[in-house]
């Protein structure tokens, strides 16, 4: 290590220590300090690790957490950015705060990386594996189109041609470009490959990348994910090495399914979380972890689901779920449809930079499904409460069951008096963070992240 990197690392580590112990923070500032002293510091620290990068639009955080959980069956001291700081500085901080690997032995790091930050990170550290979840339309004001988002990831992958690309085979875009890298695909194979259907009208990424004909599907898992094929030129889903072979139970709190014939259970609902588990399984299998060890890892996953936790507010079971784009929203609505009890629904919409400043995407969410569910009360709030309120009106939510409350503090008061035991809050990023902070202040969420 150069003297400059030495100094930079020292400054970064001590600022982390100070922030962590005295200020209760430290997720990206140490990275900023260190990078300012030596821009190449990540390269120096990263050399000591075998790195797995997880990227894509949805499911990065949970997939990363599950991969770590699975790898714990074989490795100690796995470095990971579990606070979700997934850009260059956050990742530099992650390495700085980590315990140094034993001399002469490489450590292992599993990093969630923002789509646009894959390239700058791979410029510094050469990963062993890329795990790709999906590319959906997301925050168009920040990233642009799905094809440009994927191109940003590819620009990073190209810098590490030896790394294995472990990608969602059900996502057509991941099969659209030639890569020198070894490629492995995972996906759903729980239904017979017989049907012939098209994706729903609001779906992106449904043109054949070879001949530009509309893609058809033998079956669709959700959105544009599934067993796709082009009736015109024969382009089709690649062979899957790791497959979901059965889905036997889905509730908001539980999913039971089989991968490659082995039964698994995760304590969280949503088909998208089965994809996340499948990705983690695939990573585990690629590095030689056995199916029963993976089952053991999944059984210990209860504490991983920070974005979908249950909070007790004066006896109410409150779940806050992050929503940020149409596909994610539709998956959450699908999850609510598996709720056996009656519940109350709260929709909180903000349009700050971190939420995406364009709220048009809510019109592509299938809120029309809500009135048919056993929902006793609806409440809409947040800074853009007028947008989400009108969206629900148009979806057919009756006025007499619908209250409007822009003030998130008052939303918490209202929740205490809602007519059901269960309350689901769908919130965009900054609304979710503000709700969490308020709930923490009132003692409903224990400290820490």
């Amino acid at each position: 290590m150069t003297l400059r990197s030495e100094l930079a690392t020292l400054a970064g580590r001590s600022s982390y220590w100070f922030l962590h112990n005295f200020m209760g923070g430290g997720s990206s500032l140490p990275g900023k300090i260190t990078t300012a002293i030596d821009p190449d510091v990540l390269q120096e620290i990263g050399k000591n690790y075998e790195v797995i990068i997880v990227s894509g639009t949805n499911g990065k955080t949970l997939t990363t957490a599950l991969v770590v959980q699975v790898l714990k069956e074989k490795y100690d001291n796995i470095v990971t950015n579990k606070t979700g700081s997934n850009m260059v500085q956050g990742i530099t901080s992650t390495f700085l705060e980590a315990k140094r690997p034993t001399k002469g032995k490489k450590g292992i790091a599993v990093l969630e990386v923002d789509e646009a930050n894959v390239k700058p990170i791979v410029e510094k550290i050469k990963p062993k594996m890329f795990v790709l979840t999906n590319i959906f339309r997301d925050q168009l004001d920040r990233y642009g189109e799905i094809y440009t988002t994927y191109q940003k990831i590819l620009d990073g992958i190209k810098l590490a041609p030896d790394a294995v690309v472990l990608a969602n085979g059900d996502e057509p875009i991941f099969h659209s470009k030639e890569l020198p890298n070894p490629q492995v695909y995972y996906g759903f194979s729980n239904e017979p490959a017989k049907g012939d259907m098209k994706a729903a009208p609001n779906t992106d990424g449904i043109l054949c990348p070879v001949c530009q004909h509309l893609l058809h599907y033998h079956y669709i898992v959700y959105a544009n994910l599934g067993d796709y094929f082009c009736p015109n030129c024969g382009f089709q889903r690649p062979d899957l090495r790791f497959k979901v072979t059965d889905v036997s139970e889905r509730t908001p709190k539980d999913s039971k399914f089989a991968i490659d014939g082995n039964q698994y259970e995760i304590g969280v609902g949503g088909t998208y979380n089965i994809y996340n588990a499948l990705a983690a399984y695939a990573v585990g299998r690629e590095v030689g972890i056995q199916p029963d060890q993976i089952r053991h890892a999944f059984d210990n996953n209860q504490r991983l689901f920070g974005r979908q936790e249950e909070i007790n507010v004066e006896g109410k079971d409150v779940s806050i779920i992050l929503v940020k784009n149409p596909v994610g929203t539709n998956q959450v609505i699908d999850l609510l449809a598996t709720e056996p009890d009656s519940f109350s629904f709260v929709g909180l919409l903000n349009a700050e930079y971190a939420d995406g400043i364009d709220t048009s995407w809510i019109w592509d969410g299938e809120f029309e499904r809500l009135p048919a569910m056993d929902i006793k009360q609806f409440e809409t709030g947040g800074k853009r409460y007028k947008d989400i309120t009108f969206r629900l009106k148009v979806a057919g939510v009756p006025d007499d069951k619908h209250t409007i409350q822009p003030d998130l503090g008052q939303v918490i008061e209202d929740i205490k008096h809602m007519p059901t035991q269960k309350v689901y809050i769908l919130a965009t990023y900054t609304a979710m963070m503000e709700m969490r902070a308020r709930l923490m202040k009132q003692g409903y969420i224990k400290g820490g992240k």
Binding site: R137, L140, D141, E145, I146, Y147, K198, A199, P201, N202, T203, D204, I206, L207, Q212, H213, L214, I357, D358, T359, S360, W361, I362, W363, D364, K386, D387, F390, R391, K393, V394, A395
Partner: protein
């Protein structure tokens, strides 16, 4: 008599990037208030478009790849789209749809592609810059203000036989220079207001809906029904 509005969602499976379908959902919402039925149908690559089959059309915005594919197919539907427009039927074209109805447009990679010249505007490309953000305009005929969100790299200049949808009060509009936003020709509106322009602007929705109805049912007196619709704007 039960009245209805038949909506064509032009390339709705490929050109719906910015919640454009919100326009159709909003139309249905207001139509329901006066007992008018709204049906909608996607007209895409492999389908024929017949002007006589529809009373209202939405042509949304697309991503570059999809827009390129649609541009190749569009000549097949050109004559019927022009017929539809010239029959005074309302059409809302957003972003990419707006650009393709004009004379030509230059896409993000610099290619100059022909439009179908249903309207006389044309679209150039600005480099390394996009117009992104909230926008507010004033319609000079009605004095009404419309709110929306724009996110476009193309810059559009109006041609003969068309006038702007409004004067820009806040934001960029067609080209960031002449303070115009959108284009109007007969009852066809081209605009950079993302997707749900009708959702956020109730007065505009009401106007478009009654244009469709008056065009389809010329002998009916809509005075009472107009009084019944309560537009919401935000």
């Amino acid at each position: 008599m039960t009245m209805n509005i038949r909506v064509a969602h032009l390339y709705g499976d490929l050109m719906n990037t910015y919640g454009d379908i919100g326009n159709i959902l909003t139309l249905r919402f207001y139509a329901k208030q006066i007992g008018v039925e709204v049906t909608d149908q996607i007209v895409s690559l492999e389908d024929d478009f017949k002007a006589d089959d529809f009373d209202f059309a939405v042509f949304g915005g697309g991503q570059d790849f999809e827009q390129m594919v649609v541009a190749k197919d569009l000549p097949n539907k050109k004559d019927e789209i022009i017929k539809f427009i010239e029959q005074n039927k309302p059409l809302i074209a957003v972003c990419g749809g707006y650009q393709m109805l004009g004379k030509y447009y230059v896409d993000a990679s610099g290619r100059k592609l022909p439009g179908i010249s249903a309207m006389n505007h044309y679209t150039e490309q600005q480099h390394e810059h996009r117009f992104i953000g909230n926008i507010e305009i004033q319609n000079e005929a009605t004095g009404q203000k419309y709110h929306g969100f724009e996110n476009h790299q193309g810059i559009t200049f109006l041609g003969d036989d068309e006038h702007a949808l409004g004067k820009v009060l806040k934001g960029y509009g067609n080209n960031g220079e002449d303070h115009t936003e959108g284009a109007v020709h007969k009852n066809t509106i081209g605009t950079y207001f993302h997707g749900p322009i009708m959702a956020r602007n109730g007065n505009f929705s009401k106007q478009m809906m009654f244009e469709a109805l008056e065009n389809k049912y010329p002998d009916y007196d809509f005075t009472d029904l107009k009084a019944k619709v309560k537009p919401e704007s935000y």
